[in-house]
C-alpha cells in the first residue's frame, strides 16, 4: 500500500469489554427533562400555553411577572412566556436543520475524501482547511449578505459554516475503517464498490456523529440566536430567542425579565445538549478508547 501515507488519526484499539450500564445516570435527568420540554414546546407549543405569542396589549406593556403573565410582558404587552415557548420552534428547528445539512454534506464529502485517490483527497482536505479559516459567524454573514435574511438562509448559513468539522472527522474515520479487517475481508469476497461503501463503510464511519451532532446542535443554536440578535434571522414579529433578546436590550433598565427568560431558555438548552453530548462522548470513547 504505497498510496496511503497519512498516519491513522485515531489509534487502532484493542477490544475492551463493553461497559454496559443501563438506565439514565441521575445527573442526566434534569437536562433530558429540559430537552423533552423544549422539544414539546418546539413541536406542539399549544400544549404548554394557550396564549397567542403575537397578541399585543399596549396597556399592560412591560409588566413584571404576575399570576396572569408568569414571565411578564414585553414592550408591546405580549406575553413573554408564550413567546419563549413559541420561540423554541424557531430556535430548535433552525439548529436541527442546520446540523442535518452539515452532517449530511459533511459525511458525504468526508467519505468521498477518505476513499478517493490521493490527489482528490488532498484537494478536498485543502477545501475543508480553507473553509475553516473563516470564522463561522463571518462565513454565515457572507452567506446572508448574498441570500438576504430569513429562516431558510440562516439554516444555510450556519449549516455551510459547520460542514468542515464533520467532513474532517468522517474522513479520518473512513481511513480507519477502510483498512480494517472486515472491509479487507469484504473486498476479498469481491463485493461491488457501492455495496462495499453502503453496507460496510458508511455504517461504521457514522459512530462519532451522534456525539458531534449533539454538541454541534448547541453551537448552532448559539449561532442562530447570535444571527437573529443582529437582525438576520426570522423577521419580526415572529418570536425567536435571539431576536427577543435583541428587543429586550432596549428595555433592560425597566423590564429585565424580557431578557432573562429567553436568555435562560437558550442557555439551558445549550447546557443540556452539552451535558448529554459529553455523556455520549464518554460512552463512545469507552467503547473505542
Amino acid at each position: 500500500m504505497t498510496t496511503v501515507t497519512e498516519a491513522p488519526q485515531i489509534a487502532p484499539s484493542a477490544p475492551t469489554p463493553p461497559r454496559r450500564r443501563y438506565g439514565v445516570p441521575p445527573g442526566l435527568i434534569p437536562p433530558l427533562l429540559f430537552l423533552i420540554v423544549a422539544a414539546v414546546a418546539a413541536t406542539a407549543p399549544r400544549l404548554l400555553t394557550g396564549v397567542d405569542p403575537l397578541a399585543a396589549d399596549p396597556l399592560h406593556a412591560l409588566a413584571g411577572p404576575s399570576a396572569g403573565h408568569w414571565f411578564g410582558t414585553d414592550h408591546l404587552g405580549r406575553d413573554v412566556l408564550a413567546r419563549v415557548v413559541h420561540g423554541a420552534g424557531h430556535s430548535l428547528s433552525i439548529g436541527a436543520a442546520a446540523i442535518l445539512l452539515a452532517t449530511g454534506i459533511g459525511t458525504l464529502l468526508g467519505i468521498v475524501a477518505g476513499l478517493s485517490p490521493r490527489y482528490l483527497d488532498e484537494l478536498l482536505s485543502r477545501l475543508f482547511d480553507v473553509l475553516a479559516t473563516f470564522p463561522e459567524l463571518l462565513l454565515a454573514l457572507m452567506v446572508i449578505a448574498i441570500t438576504g435574511p430569513g429562516t431558510g438562509n440562516v439554516i444555510l448559513a450556519i449549516g455551510v459554516a459547520q460542514i468542515p468539522n464533520y467532513a474532517r472527522v468522517i474522513r479520518a474515520q473512513t481511513f480507519v475503517v477502510r483498512r480494517s479487517g472486515y472491509v479487507e475481508q469484504a473486498v476479498t469476497f469481491g463485493l461491488s464498490r457501492p455495496v462495499l461503501v453502503l453496507r460496510h463503510v458508511l455504517p461504521n464511519v457514522l459512530g462519532p456523529l451522534p456525539v458531534l451532532a449533539t454538541i454541534g446542535m448547541g453551537t448552532a443554536i448559539i449561532a442562530t440566536s447570535g444571527l437573529s440578535f443582529l437582525g438576520m434571522g426570522p423577521q419580526p414579529p415572529s418570536p425567536e430567542w435571539g431576536s427577543m433578546l435583541s428587543e429586550a436590550r432596549n428595555y433592560l433598565r425597566v423590564a429585565p425579565w424580557t431578557a432573562l427568560f429567553p436568555g435562560l431558555a437558550v442557555t439551558l438548552t445549550v447546557i443540556s445538549l452539552t451535558l448529554v453530548g459529553r455523556r455520549l462522548q464518554r460512552r463512545f470513547e469507552g467503547r473505542n478508547p
Partner: protein, 323 residues
C-alpha cells in the same frame, strides 16, 4: 515508500530549519490565495447579475453600473477578471463600497482600531483568567474546583451577547459603574472585553486543566516529586509547559472567536468598530465590504496559525524532521 519521498526527506533533514519554515509559509500563502478565490467564486455564483450584487442596496444609476463594470473588469473574460482581482488584492486595494461611496480599505482602516483593542484586551483577560483558574484547581478535587468547572460549562454554553446583556444589566443599569454604550476610553472597554474574554477563558481553562492533570500523572512528575520539589514548583516548572502545547494550537481558533464575537459584542454595547461596519454591510448587501472583512479575518487566522506553527518548530525539534 518511493525513492522520491526518501530523497525529499533527506533533503529537508539536511536543510534543518529552512525546509519546514518555507513549507509552512508557503502553505499559509496558499490558504490565503484559496480564501481569496473562494470569496471571488461566492461573488460570481451569487444569484442575480454580478453588477446588481455589487451595487447591493446602493443607488442604481447607469453611470455607477459603468463604473462597476470598469472597476471589476466585468466586460472582459473570466480569467482576466480573476487575475485582475488578485492583482488588486496584492496591491492592497480592497475595492470600492458603492453604498458608502468610499474605498473599502479606507472604511476598514478607520474602524479597525476599536475592534483590535477590544479583541486584544479580551484575549489578555481571557488567557490570564484561564491560567489562574487552571493553576488554582488542577489536580485537586475541591468544592472550588467543581464550581470553576461548572462555571466554565455555563460560560461556554451561554451566547456571548447574552453575557454582554447580563453585564450591562448588572454593572451599567443597576450599579452604574460603567457607561451603557459607545466608546469612551478604557472604562467603556471593560465590560465588552470581559464578555468576549469569558468565552475564551471557558474553553482555554478546560484545555489547560486537562493538560495539567494529564502531565501531573506522567512518569516525569513522579521523578520530579521523588527529587523532593514542591508541588507548586512541579506545576509551574514542568507540568505547565506540557499543558501549554495543546492550548497554543487553539490560538488560530481564538482569532476567529474573537473576530466573530467582537461583531456581536460591539452590537450589544453600541461600540463603533468593524462589527458595526460588517453588520450594516450585510444588511445593506454591500458585498465589497463584506468580502473585505471576510478576507481580513482569513488573513488574521492564517497569520496567527502560521506563527503558531513556526513557534512549534522552535519548541519541538521533532517536528523539524517530520514529513
Amino acid at each position: 515508500m518511493s525513492t522520491l519521498q526518501l530523497t525529499r526527506r533527506r533533503g529537508l533533514a539536511a536543510a534543518g530549519w529552512l525546509g519546514p519554515v518555507v513549507r509552512r509559509l508557503g502553505s499559509g500563502l496558499a490558504v490565503l490565495w484559496a480564501a481569496a478565490t473562494a470569496a471571488y467564486v461566492a461573488l460570481l455564483f451569487a444569484p442575480g447579475d454580478t453588477v446588481d450584487v455589487l451595487i447591493g442596496d446602493g443607488l442604481d444609476t447607469p453611470e455607477r453600473r459603468a463604473q462597476i463594470i470598469a472597476e471589476w473588469g466585468l466586460d472582459r473574460s473570466a480569467l482576466e477578471q480573476y487575475g485582475d482581482y488578485l492583482a488588486r488584492l496584492l496591491r492592497g486595494d480592497l475595492g470600492h463600497s458603492y453604498i458608502l461611496q468610499r474605498g473599502v480599505g479606507d472604511v476598514l482602516s478607520s474602524q479597525i482600531w476599536p475592534t483590535v483593542s477590544l479583541a486584544l484586551t479580551a484575549a489578555v483577560f481571557g488567557v490570564v483568567l484561564a491560567l489562574v483558574l487552571a493553576l488554582a484547581t488542577a489536580g485537586r478535587r475541591s468544592r472550588f474546583g467543581d464550581l470553576v468547572g461548572l462555571s466554565e460549562l455555563v460560560v461556554v454554553s451561554v451566547p456571548p451577547f447574552l453575557i454582554g446583556i447580563l453585564l450591562l444589566a448588572v454593572f451599567s443599569f443597576t450599579l452604574g459603574w460603567f457607561p451603557v454604550s459607545g466608546d469612551r476610553g478604557f472604562v467603556s472597554l471593560v465590560l465588552p472585553a470581559v464578555a468576549l474574554g469569558l468565552q475564551i477563558s471557558g474553553v482555554l481553562g478546560q484545555v489547560l486543566r486537562e493538560g495539567l492533570e494529564r502531565a501531573l500523572e506522567e512518569p516525569f512528575a513522579v521523578t520530579a516529586r521523588s527529587r523532593g520539589i514542591t508541588e507548586w514548583r512541579l506545576v509551574i516548572r514542568h507540568a505547565l509547559r506540557h499543558a501549554l502545547l495543546p492550548a497554543v494550537t487553539l490560538l488560530g481558533w481564538f482569532t476567529g472567536v474573537l473576530l466573530g464575537g467582537a461583531i456581536i459584542i460591539e452590537a450589544v454595547f453600541g461600540r463603533p468598530g468593524l462589527g458595526q461596519v460588517t453588520v450594516s454591510a450585510v444588511t445593506g448587501k454591500d458585498m465589497p465590504v463584506v468580502m473585505a472583512v471576510v478576507l481580513l479575518s482569513a488573513l488574521a487566522y492564517v497569520t496567527v496559525s502560521t506563527i503558531v506553527d513556526l513557534a512549534y518548530l522552535a519548541i519541538d525539534p521533532r517536528l523539524r524532521r517530520s514529513r
